[in-house]
């Protein structure tokens, strides 16, 4: 991880955050009509997670991962309270990701843990994360295909 790499990423996140915030506002404005926009938020979270993982920022990557999964649950949420819950959780996730990025050199373990617990509880209430595969499993799947 280089300092310049992180600084560039933080600067770039500004653009992601604007998109993500605008998306959440639009969902809040009309939850039933705009819930499909959760996928836009999820895409931004994946971008943040991937880059954070590559830059060895695991806390940010973890929260982005939870945000990504909760957003995907929001796409198919049928009840308004569920959509509202997803939106609220995603605001928390986005705010914390931004805070962690801006203060990545500081100790923020306690607030990170509190948020992670809350997001994990929300995700569990939505039925849990989608099934993931690791690099070894992907390798095996590719070999089988060939």
């Amino acid at each position: 991880m280089t300092v310049s790499g992180i600084q560039e990423f933080i600067a770039e996140l500004g653009g992601f955050a604007v998109t993500a915030e605008e998306t959440l506002r639009q969902i809040e404005a009309d939850m039933e009509k705009n819930r499909g926009m959760f996928s836009v938020f999820s895409d931004r979270m994946i971008a943040i997670r991937g880059t954070a993982q590559q830059l060895s920022l695991p806390k940010i990557a973890h929260i982005a991962r939870l945000g990504e999964e909760i957003a995907m649950k929001g796409v198919t949420a049928e009840k308004r309270p569920q959509i509202r819950k997803a939106v609220g959780s995603l605001w928390d996730a986005l705010t914390t990701v931004k805070h962690l990025l801006q203060h990545h050199g500081e100790e923020t373990a306690e607030e990170h843990d509190i948020l992670v617990n809350r997001l994990e509880a929300t995700l569990r209430a939505f039925g849990g994360a989608r099934q993931q595969v690791d690099a070894d499993e992907i390798e095996r799947m590719l070999r089988e295909k060939k």
Partner: protein
């Protein structure tokens, strides 16, 4: 073909990642590395000159990396290209989709220098681009 002659196209909407992948490839001796910030930009690059390998992110808007893969595999003049998906996406059903669409290999973030080297070299050797 020599490694220094291989044209590589790196497609990612995150500049930090594009630059990092390019720097890794240059460390391995690739000299012709072009960066594209979207699938649309990548398609324009592919029209301009021949490439041998594409390293592409999945989650881009409005056209995804999977859409770009389908476009390449559906195009007679491009379908033999080596295509590696470089992504944090590891949801099983989506990985299966990429494999079914003809992805040559898959680099899951976070990746190491050695993984990039092994997968890019491996795919180029397998397709007979490098001898």
């Amino acid at each position: 073909m020599l490694l220094t002659d291989v044209n590589v196209l790196v497609v990612d909407d995150v500049n930090t990642m594009r630059v990092q992948v390019r720097d890794i490839l240059k460390q391995f001796g690739f000299q012709k590395v072009t960066l594209a910030a979207s699938a649309e930009e990548a398609q324009a690059c592919l029209k301009e000159q021949p490439y041998q390998v594409v390293l592409c992110d999945w989650h881009m808007v409005p056209t995804t990396g999977l859409d770009l893969l389908k476009f390449i595999r559906g195009n007679d003049s491009l379908k033999a290209l080596v295509f590696l998906m470089v992504t944090a996406e590891s949801t099983k059903e989506l990985v299966v989709q990429a494999i079914q669409c003809g992805v040559d290999d898959y680099l899951v973030k976070p990746f190491t220098l050695a993984q990039v080297q092994s997968k890019v070299y491996g795919a180029l050797l397998k397709k007979g681009v490098l001898q």
